[in-house]
């Protein structure tokens, strides 16, 4: 059983430029192949793409629907399966582009998806941002931001070789917590030189998620945190952070008692 909390918050440069929040994130709980799973989607619309806020929303929507309709155990999800989901998401973006009379590249966005089951979990990503996960008390990076040589280059789902560059990880160690985020959070949450996860960023967040009575009570504190001056001093970009934590069914039963 997974607890989850997440939000995409507009960056100060987007507010200044009167741009919409181009990040988008969502998650849902569903029965997948007989197990209760949590599906998470995160996307960062490209700054240069005029309709990328739409691209990120549509991409996350399609992926959640794809994952929810999976009818075998989470352990069976392969790299090729997720590639097929991403290919479907891209096909959907082409339809959206036709409908809106724009080009597909106007919907350019990164994409991060995770399916967390009772024992197994899969993570995939195109572009920057990252997934981190905790197992046996150790927090590590599951995927890593994909940048080109230069800091302002990355891959989008609409890029020509996007599917080939997809990162994929399957974890069969039962995870205790995980988080997905966009590049707005990257410099705070990762040690880029050491290629490691900055644990002091996540530990208090995971602790709060584990200790709270009702995770929805954490939504407004999360929004305040993501909009705080302390965060905005370090990034003027949109920022998304989705946190998930496993709680045992026993713990839920205790809480209900």
């Amino acid at each position: 059983m997974w607890r989850a909390i997440g939000k995409s918050v507009v960056g100060t440069s987007h507010l200044k430029g009167q741009l919409p929040c181009q990040d988008y994130s969502d998650y849902l709980r569903c029965q997948i192949g007989g197990e209760l799973a949590l599906v998470v989607g995160v996307s960062d619309g490209a700054g240069s793409a005029t309709f990328s806020h739409l691209g990120s929303q549509e991409t996350v929507g399609v992926l959640l629907r794809q994952a929810a309709s999976w009818d075998r155990p989470v352990a069976d999800i392969s790299r090729e399966d997720i590639k097929a989901w991403f290919a479907n998401a891209l096909a959907h973006l082409k339809l959206v582009a036709e409908r809106e009379k724009i080009e597909t590249k106007d919907l350019a966005c990164t994409v991060l998806v995770a399916v967390l089951g009772e024992r197994h979990a899969v993570f995939a990503q195109i572009g920057d941002g990252a997934w981190v996960a905790e197992a046996n008390g150790v927090l590590g990076a599951v995927t890593w931001p994909q940048n080109g040589e230069f800091a302002n280059e990355t891959k989008f789902i609409t890029s020509p070789d996007a599917l080939d560059s997809m990162q994929f990880q399957k974890c069969s160690n039962p995870l205790t917590a995980a988080a997905g985020f966009t590049d707005g959070i990257q410099a705070l949450a990762l040690n880029l030189a050491a290629k490691s996860v900055h644990a002091p960023f996540f530990q208090p967040l995971f602790a709060a998620l584990g200790e709270c009575d009702d995770e929805t009570s954490l939504l407004s504190p999360l929004i305040s945190f993501l909009s705080s001056d302390r965060v905005n001093e370090r990034t003027d970009d949109d920022k998304t952070l989705v946190l998930v934590r496993r709680v045992s069914t026993d713990q839920i039963r205790d809480e209900l008692a």
């Binding site: 700054g47 940048n147 230069f150 302002n152 030189a193 208090p204 504190p221």
Partner: protein, 228 residues
């Protein structure tokens, strides 16, 4: 209801170095620059420093190196971030070893990029900005062909952006051999406008994130500082 949200103060941030945008200035200080051109160029450098230093992000991200060529080629200011940039005092002398200056600049840039990579510092596409009022006096040496080839290759591979700017009676044709981009001819001695433009452009680049297009104002527009 108990209010125990995240204890925000407890969340520790990773302290990553800022991504850098390297800017190499190759400045002609040969004898013919003496007088007004040199003093206006000097004033332009001060504008450049002031503009970058006033931008909270750019002053930590734009890194400037200055190489002069006049009689000899001298690295008069090695890379430093804009908040530590002290414009050097320019002194005019001698001939115009432009090719040697270009090669020195490219080497300096390569070294810097190596340091970025070794230290896990992300960087933007670097800029090389050459300003001259003359013609290369080393155009008949193998260095010239070498410089031309390296600049072309670098531009083609998008490893840097190279801009050539001619002042007054500069040999625009020779400058054109170097830069793939059409060389720009400075209007009069409008160095201050040039450096204002350069700092504005680099401010935009240094805050761009993946997928941003960073359109540069056309310096050759009617109200710009250059003609082509």
């Amino acid at each position: 209801m108990e209010q125990t949200p995240f204890e925000l103060g407890k969340i520790g941030f990773a302290d990553n170095p800022e991504p850098r945008c390297a800017s190499v200035l190759l400045l002609d200080v040969s004898g013919s620059m003496q007088g007004n051109p040199l003093s206006e160029l000097q004033a332009g450098l001060a504008v450049y420093r002031d503009e970058l230093a006033a931008d909270a992000l750019a002053r930590k991200r734009v890194e400037i190196a200055v190489i002069t060529f006049g009689g000899s080629v001298d690295v008069v200011h090695n890379f430093s971030t804009a908040d530590n940039f002290m414009p050097p005092t320019l002194v005019s002398k001698g001939d115009t070893p432009m090719a040697q200056a270009v090669l020195t600049g490219l080497n300096l840039l390569d070294e810097r990029k190596k340091e970025y990579r070794q230290n896990g510092i992300q960087y933007y596409r670097p800029w090389i900005f050459l300003i001259t009022d003359g013609a290369p006096t080393d155009a008949n040496t193998p260095q010239w062909a070498d410089a031309v080839e390296k600049v072309r290759k670098g531009e083609d591979a998008k490893t840097f952006s190279f801009f050539g700017v001619g002042v007054e009676n500069a040999d625009m044709q020779k400058l054109g051999e170097l830069s793939k981009r059409e060389p720009l001819k400075l209007k009069g001695l409008r160095f201050r406008d040039l450096f204002q433009w350069l700092s504005n452009s680099q401010q935009s680049v240094s805050r761009s994130t993946p997928g941003d297009s960073v359109p540069l104002n056309n310096p050759a527009a009617p109200d710009g500082w250059a003609t082509v």
